[in-house]
Symmetry: C2
Subunit: 465 residues, 2 copies
């Protein structure tokens, strides 16, 4: 991947001018920035001194300011809301879309959030409170409640007029998807705006719409919403309650953010630490240590079994110290093959290519692969010992041949076990309700280290007897 | 993440009925499946015997069949196209959207693809050939050439009429975004269909449209397209040539697939293997071994340095064999802290939270974190030795106290070095043009193993002298 941020001059270029304008002629700011995409204007805001951002927002028309708020980083948005008076904050939030409003409030401390919420017009407040009641990691937490619905009884022409009226009313929800509801408000159909426009004037909406509506309950995991949107190439996914009443919709742009958050979390888990709540740069020292020391200590304590395992074989080591030379290499090979298998399976499970019940199919695929990989590394290992010995680069003593076979056989065993453990662990974890990504590379390596030591020395005992 | 595929009865349920219908009353299939989303119908096709899929497609109206083709798995789609006669395949492909048509042809072998391409109507053929000329990992390879453009001189009403005409003509491109072009066909503005509908009847399009258009050149990496679409919450991103002429657009649904592919690749790289071209289940045995044995061997050969390092310290080991007991634990701790740091940095770079030039900021953040983590593990290590000795669970000899300090000091050093190496490697790799994700957990672990051995025994030599 290229570095997305490598060149991003726009904000940096504009910030000084805007700053000057704010001092000299704030009333000119709105016009000057009129053509900027809110996301770019948000970048400009990020480049300003935090203290001046409220001034910038104040200088913009309310709906513009609200749009910019929606693109600010969580941190800056929170700082701005805290800097504003309750009235100002409420006024700004009232103009944001309900889902972004809820997100913004979620980041504030209870008290401040409640104060601001109190100051928001009743209708908007209730809607926001309803949204806040959903776990942010669910479809309900992701959805916007502003959806365009038309009655199944209306005609295409009437529906188009209705949609245009909504659009002209300046409400900012996405309306590429239009939902058809019956008299009871139950979701009975869906059609895209383009299908509505394509319909012959008089046609009743009920005839144009699709009656097989892909929908999701508010409690479903956001990753499920992402999967449905991706699979059906939707721009929006309706969220319906148990009665089939439409509560809102999850739009594709929210889902992209959700997918990327999910992926960040699983990459971090796979790296062997607790997923961070903030971005790397925004995570403080104490938090960073907390997120990392937990797993690191668990793995360390787990790793102590290697010490016990080594203790069991102290005598063998005494007899043939030369064995120790290859120990790190052999256990590392087990860990490497393990983390290969784990990363493959974790991803296949996450992408739905594999189901929990497919574990045995994976065994059948991994076993031959693992044996082959083990045989290849084993061969390299044997050659390594023989060549160094015969070339006189090292002296492994009279028993060098048996050492070679020990190393080779151990590698075959370690790589095979390593791959199998790495492949099965994600299934086990999911089976017991954990995130398969918890089968981190270090976790697998730690398990395989112990087995590696046991295998290596057992082979040694057997061959060097 | 929940398992997306855990329950997916629809396809499995319908497949048998459809199969029966295909035998008894193929003409009824179209009506029976009319209400199904093409994606679901594609699932049904996946559940049928491969040989019967062409019959299913033949039983559907051309545009339906084409839509279903777009949702089939790459493999099945390829098999179907190979099963059909050139004429049938060309007929089917001609009705697919240009970008999906190009994707489908890309999967066929040169020869078959060319034959089919020859049989496709000239206009569609040229368009497809142009699309095929772009690297599939670029914006050009992702884009569709079917975009809705209106002249800047036309009025809102005229534009709406135009859009409705296009929609009624049944062309299946997304039209949520409408592009404004000047007389020379250069992209001068963009507006959403909802903005067009909201506009007052007589208003000229040039006044409603945004003139600051976020666009991308066809050669840009697909991840850059993904970043722009995510940042600006776009449903489509226009692809323009160096003159500013619109070539096509990348739609958000293509980008979601791209994001997920990118992510799968980097998870696999981070796991220490070459990214697979197919899904795990579709990758054959030979291919699977090929993708894994490369890195595994490289790491193995790199790991041989641990053997050399061990050799350097054979005498120390001879003097104090007890040292060997803690060796695996200590080098593992280095690898674990390394892979933690690497996963954090790789992701932060991929998400654009960090730039290559930020490496020194990362040093300043990682060093104190690493020292703290090292100190904590070091303390646990010291206690481990002392407690086991004093409790009489193990006998580390008279020198047990110095062993404890050796273990503690070595852990402090190994964890610190491990974290720093893990944090800096991704920067180094990107600096030299590699994917930072190549800094796989095993790669970091291998580097840290050698340093771990050296640190441990150096401390030992110094303390046990």
């Amino acid at each position: 991947m290229i570095d997305p941020r490598e060149e991003r001059p726009l904000a940096a270029l504009l910030a000084p001018d805007i700053l000057a304008l704010l001092d000299d002629a704030p009333q000119a700011v709105a016009v000057e920035t009129e053509e900027l995409h809110p996301a770019d204007l948000a970048d400009v805001a990020e480049a300003l001194p935090v203290a001046r951002v409220p001034a910038l927002l104040a200088a913009l028309p309310g709906d513009r300011a609200a749009a910019v708020m929606e693109y600010l980083s969580e941190d800056l948005r929170t700082e701005v809301l805290e800097a504003l008076t309750t009235a100002q904050a409420a006024d700004l939030l009232a103009q944001m879309t309900p889902d972004d409003r809820a997100d913004a409030l979620e980041e504030l401390d209870e008290e401040t959030a409640d104060e601001i919420l109190e100051a928001i017009p009743a209708a908007a407040r209730e809607e926001t409170e309803r949204l806040l009641s959903y776990d942010p990691e669910t479809a309900g937490g992701l959805m916007t409640t502003q959806i365009v619905t038309v009655r199944e009884t209306s005609t295409a022409e009437a529906a188009v007029a209705e949609v245009r009226a909504i659009a002209r009313a300046g409400r900012r929800e996405a309306m590429n998807t239009i939902y058809v509801v019956d008299a009871a408000g139950l979701l009975v159909g869906v059609l895209s705006l383009r299908e509505l426009l394509a319909a012959p004037e008089g046609a009743p909406v009920s005839e144009i719409a699709w009656t097989e509506v892909v929908s999701i309950p508010p409690t479903a995991d956001r990753s499920e919403a992402a999967r449905l949107i991706a699979e059906y190439d939707l721009v929006a996914l309706p969220v319906v309650d148990e009665n089939g009443r439409a509560l809102g919709m999850v739009t594709v742009d929210d889902v992209i953010d959700a997918i990327q958050e999910e992926q960040t979390e699983s990459v971090q888990r796979f790296g062997g630490l607790e997923a961070l709540d903030e971005s790397y740069t925004q995570t403080g020292f104490a938090e960073m240590v907390r997120k990392r020391v937990g797993w690191l200590s668990v793995l360390f304590v787990g790793g102590m079994f290697t010490t016990l395992a080594m203790g069991r074989f102290e005598d063998e080591l005494n007899k043939a110290l030369v064995l120790s030379l290859f120990l790190p290499l052999i256990i590392a090979s087990g860990g490497n093959s393990g983390s290969q298998a784990t990363s493959l399976i974790i991803r296949a499970l996450a992408m739905g290519e594999l189901r929990t019940r497919d574990w045995w199919r994976v065994v059948l695929r991994e076993l031959p692969t693992a044996l082959t990989l083990g045989a290849i590394l084993g061969t390299i290992g044997v050659l390594r010992v023989l060549i160094w010995q015969l070339a006189g680069w090292s002296d492994y003593g009279a028993d060098y041949e048996r050492l070679a076979w020990t190393v080779g056989a151990a590698l075959l065993g370690v790589v095979t076990i390593g791959s199998m453990v790495g492949a099965m662990l994600p299934f086990l974890l999911r089976r017991f309700g954990f995130d398969p990504a918890t089968a981190s590379a270090p976790f697998v390596a730690t398990i395989v280290d112990v087995t590696g030591i046991v295998i290596y020395f057992s082979v040694a005992v057997w061959l060097l007897r």
